[in-house]
Assembly symmetry: C2
């Protein structure tokens, strides 16, 4: 919950001074993209299975502090806690903790720590650590060190947690004491990375302080009078050879520490505040009428900002940089859940997420060849550096929709920003290469329908099926978008077109084949029920016996063999219902309602990706209570630990889904080929809510209250959209309009 | 090729005296049913996956012999082979080998070995080893020993070969020298078995022989004059605690060795001959006109006899006891391929195979619970001692048809033998318990059809599909048979009925549900093509591009990701075509021909279980040339190593398929509810063929030549059947009839 991060460094919310104490929770420090690799061993092998796992490593814990009073360690073994408080102000970005200890014998100390991971300095974190002698005068010793003997969690029965390695993964490669701390260098066994972890420490507050080296750190001793405070500032830097050349790792640790020491803790805290002020000015969502939800929404936004990689080489893991669930892998969660949040709140980060995918194209091409596709690129279902890491292909590699999801995010990026330069330079190649997979995997059946067989859609309780509606519909969108990109490039930027087409060997016949496949795409629809079928066979399966499934048997995946789940009509998460959102214009509202009604009954929401989507569609089809209920489940999922696994890391997709729930859900925002539109409703419990979106070059603030919706152009030239179907135009001359509620 | 076995001991055909020589092939000695267990580790776990692998261990090599002349070892390092011959006469059951060596320096010795694994003595094997000084007189030393430092093959890329353990699997538990040899006791690490391996040796042939102990064996030394022969007899016994109590292992080794020594090699060879004379009198297939095929057929029959367990605790592994392919696992191969051969050739062995399944019922019940079936039993797809060992469930646990296959074999047993006592005592409980799975897994669709979803049929290139024709049709047969068994028990043996029904909690409603499911079973049929669909979606898939698949890309499973294979119309093996055989009466001949025509085009026969079935149906539908061609592929599969993997063990199912190809194929034999029938044809190349079948209490000889078919009742009271539809009745009064060919 109190994990800190800056999109690169992630520090779990554990205490500086209680590592290894009885009852202490999992320590963890992670660096986005920094990973080890290990061969995947299958008990029964098959051709083309993912061979190499990339997984996030737990890196040295550089926040360790240890306090002694007259030689007596302050900790649970010989002291008790008198008072305790922690807080994290999302405007400050500093984790504040105050503890009062009473030691055996009665001496009382107060420890105040302030910790930050610098948003503005990728490699740097810092701690201000203040110890006050409350009722005594005595010798105080504070050790500030690095614990480099860390290990990763072990995989157990839950497939969502843990890695295959045991014991320390980082091999020592040298350590250097600097006179104010230490720099530890380590290397990974297989992935060949070098990692530098450094600390630089200084103490102040009393006259006579003795400083000396201690094991992997620096110790400060002073004799405190009653009421006096000894303060230690500890600056931390992590650099790996994934960021810079190997020989620059240690120098960069040193220079980042130098700069931090020179600037001082107060300057870092001020930078932090400035960064966040800018962020909230663009991204803040306000909710009046439900403080718990307000907290949940901002908590989630804050964690997204902390978790997302923004250097074009990293992405956002399912658990951000907060825990080892899913081994630090990136999934489609990025494109379908997280990307829109950043696109509309902090577009430069959205762009860097797309650049990450561009960087992954060569690996995706390799993977396509392994999967017997002679052309095109197939993105990995889960990965860090681009390798397909899914060791259970039915809910991994089989999810070919990842290609369409990436293309969808590029399409949305183009619609929101109009940035065709990006398309010409990066996006087109991604979209075109990944579109080719559909004519590779698909085929025409005897009725002349274009079918996509043996794939898995978003719903992982139904695997390796034919004509998954979501996949087929998204493939249509993808191929049509690819064809339109090709047309536009050809006419607007013939040089770029020539370059891209030549680079990937694309010809007109292939583009024509995409258009034909789109036109003939099989999109399963059941006339009798008037609903879209999740796949060719979903409706023929036996409905799951929910009435006789005890609560403790959820999530089903931990209690039933995959075959048992697969042969039933039961969904882990939104599948058709997600298509209703992403391809919103292709459905009538009655279709959406029938689909929602049907799929709601068979969905367990065992995936944290589900409730937010159901909330949005419920809002759209007029189920205000359900929309609110599903939103509640999403918005405080981690704060209330409703999935009982937040200890393995936060759920970044659900966090982004919360923002989607406000903008797409309650405010009915859609950005489609038909333009931008809103259809705001106000949840009964709320008095007012407001959010902001970057779109079409402007920053728009939307404020909804009981009577009306206010639209204000905060910057930008002009903006046009619809409000419940009625056209609205804002401009610098007329930057605000208030529209009556429906 | 020269492996020996007796259904318990299996010795690969490696030489006694060349273990470890350069270029020597895999040494291996196996004991049917003797296995180690090891946890199966999945890179991504799921509920209910098979947890424990049982795998056959390579046990100590007790056939080792080493010869030295004047201290010079006779072997490839310091000698060359002058002449060499090996032979195995299937009437003798003794592997004979003669080698003449010329040592460096010019001395020549002849080594003649005769080796047998006693058919009549489960635990015993023996070697007669004769060394003759051809052109010299000199000191000769022969060491007869046990090599107990053996290991299993390692698993590699081919999923069909090797195990997960590395290094020696057997831990030493003691060794005892007996004055004529040694008894080595070892134990397994996990499965907790004790193994005793013993040898007892004696030498003869020259006057002065010095005997002494040597490392793990016994050494004999003598000075030979030119032309003299030193003979060593080595008796071997293997006993494990899977056969007897732990404390009886070593005593039984000792007493079996005692008895063998006392009886002597000649007596063992005579026993062997008598056993085989009896076997061939019942089982021999004669073919005139194709010596290579004649050899293939008998080779296969002989290997089946060598491979099959017959103690009710063991079964027949995919590779018999000849190699480590498929880790010594038993599959459905037993019931569908091997069982009919023994049923008609040596019915007491067939019965013991069914008893093995009866012994496995408790484990099969456990497995059914793990698979969320509240009632019934689900047999493991692959196993040794009853545990589900399939580590890739789509081509393992998903093959629910295993239950119907077992029931089918019991039904065939009852039809052939009329042995209802066996049904009452064992068979009914198997059939009823396994039938319950179908109403557990199946469900009614919206059209009121009973569907079986998410299973895999025999064809492993199509996995986890809905309404696999074979599975559904066999489930029908199974449930109908179960209901009829229940009826018959109830009326003929009310006490047995009460006992069985009470033991498993079976009531009339459940039996009624079976009958209803049968009546409503979905059996996919395509009206346009007039063929049975392999499953609901098979015909909608893209046909495999055979034209552009190079020969080296077969078997496909080693060159394409499962998803690539699964999404195409391509079969590894007979699936619908197998149903045409097993449920013969349910199809018209035109149906069979159309099905054959269609499925032949899409089948790779990458499985060795395929060609024999295609041969049989080809014969039935009048494709004589194809029948012969497929028969050729089956009959000499191992002799000619056509699948390029005979080194990992023989293909017992294909071997039995050869017999099926003669009886079911060319002779058109069927035993169904409609009775016994023949419809013999004579392959163009043959002058004559003959085979024998135990059926209805008699032993019938069928002889087919160009003009007619002769039916002779060799023993039994009377027998009635049809010949090309015409009734034939044999009796003691009239034991022979000759029927004109069609």
């Amino acid at each position: 919950m109190f994990a800190l991060g800056n999109g690169y460094i992630g520090m779990r919310g554990t205490h500086e001074d209680m590592s290894g104490e009885p009852g202490s929770t999992l320590e963890g420090t992670y660096l986005n993209g920094f990973h080890e690799t290990e061969a995947i061993h299958y008990p029964e092998n098959a051709y083309g299975l993912a061979r190499i796992n990339e997984f996030m490593l737990n890196v040295p814990n550089a926040k360790c502090m240890a306090v002694s009073v007259d030689g007596q360690r302050v900790g649970l073994e010989s002291a008790r806690i008198v008072s305790y408080e922690r807080s994290l102000d999302f405007r400050q970005g500093v984790l504040v903790r105050t503890v009062e200890w009473e030691l055996d014998g009665g001496k009382r100390v107060r420890i105040e720590s302030r910790r930050l991971v610098c948003f503005g300095r990728k490699h740097v974190a810092a701690i201000e650590y203040r110890v006050t002698a409350l009722n005594f005068g005595a010798a105080l010793r504070i050790e500030a060190s690095i614990d480099s003997a860390v290990t990763n969690m072990q995989a157990g029965d839950d497939p969502r947690v843990g890695s295959a390695i045991t014991g320390p993964a980082l091999l020592d490669d040298g350590r250097e004491t600097t006179g104010r701390g230490v720099i530890v260098t380590q290397r990974t066994r297989n992935s060949g990375f070098l990692l530098g972890t450094g600390i630089a420490c200084a103490a102040s507050g009393v006259a006579a302080i003795t400083a000396s080296d201690c094991a992997d750190g620096r110790a400060f001793e002073a004799t405190l009078a009653q009421g006096e405070t000894l303060t230690v500032h500890k600056y931390i830097a992590y650099v790996s050879s994934r960021d810079v050349a190997r020989e620059e790792v240690a120098p960069l640790v040193r220079s980042e520490l130098d700069r931090a020491v020179q600037d001082g803790f107060a300057a870092l805290a001020a930078e932090q505040q400035a960064y966040l002020a800018d962020f909230w000015a663009q991204a803040d969502v306000e909710i009046e009428g439900d403080d718990a939800l307000q907290q949940g929404v901002r908590f989630n936004q804050y964690h997204l900002l902390q978790s997302v990689g923004r250097d074009g080489k990293t992405n956002i893991a399912a658990k951000g940089v907060t825990g080892e669930g899913y081994e630090g892998h990136y999934f489609w969660d990025t494109e379908i859940y997280v990307f829109p949040f950043f696109l509309f709140s902090k577009p430069e980060i959205a762009r860097s997420l797309l650049q990450y995918r561009y960087a992954g194209l060569p690996k995706a091409r390799e993977r396509a060849r392994q999967m017997s596709h002679t052309r095109g690129a197939l993105y990995p279902w889960r990965t860090i550096a681009g390798e397909e890491c899914s060791a259970y292909y039915p809910a991994g590699t089989a999810q070919y929709h990842i290609n369409a999801d990436v293309a969808y995010s590029i399409r949305l990026y183009l619609m929101a920003t109009g940035d065709f330069d990006f398309i010409a330079e990066y996006g087109a190649e991604i979209v075109l290469e990944t579109a080719r997979i559909w004519t590779g995997i698909g085929s025409y059946d005897r009725e002349g329908c274009f079918c996509i067989n043996a794939v898995t859609g978003p719903d992982e309780y139904t695997a390796v099926v034919n004509n998954n509606y979501y996949t087929n519909a998204m493939a249509c969108m993808h191929m049509a978008f690819a064809a339109s990109i090709a047309d536009r490039l050809r006419s607007e930027r013939p040089e770029d077109w020539k370059r891209v087409a030549a680079a990937i060997g694309l010809d007109d016949a292939e583009i024509a084949a995409w258009r034909a496949a789109c036109a003939d795409m099989r999109l399963p629809y059941d006339e009798a029920l008037g609903i879209h079928e999740q796949d060719d066979s979903f409706l023929s399966k036996k409905p799951w016996d929910f009435a006789n499934t005890p609560a403790e048997n959820y999530p089903l995946l931990l209690h039933y063999h995959p075959l048992v789940i697969y042969r039933h009509q039961v969904c882990k998460q939104a599948d058709v219902v997600l298509a209703l959102l992403l391809l919103s214009d292709e459905f009538q509202i009655d279709d959406k309602r029938r689909d929602f009604d049907f799929y709601e009954k068979v969905t367990t929401h065992d995936s944290s990706l589900s409730s937010c989507i159901f909330s949005i569609i419920a809002a759209e089809v007029g189920y205000a209570d359900k929309a609110y209920q599903y939103f509640l489940e999403t918005a405080r999922l981690d704060l209330d630990n409703t999935h009982a696994n937040t200890q393995y890391g936060v759920h970044t997709a659900a966090m982004a889904g919360t923002w989607l729930g406000v903008a797409y859900g309650f405010a009915g925002m859609r950005l489609t080929g038909g333009g931008l539109r809103f259809a705001p409703t106000l949840p009964a419990k709320w008095q007012r809510y407001a959010f902001r979106v970057h779109v079409h070059g402007g920053l728009l603030e939307v404020t909804v209250d009981a009577g009306a919706t206010g639209y204000r152009l905060l910057n930008g030239e002009a903006l046009a959209f619809t409000h419940h179907g009625a056209p609205v135009a804002l401009s610098q001359a007329e930057p605000f309009k208030r529209m009556e509620s429906q």
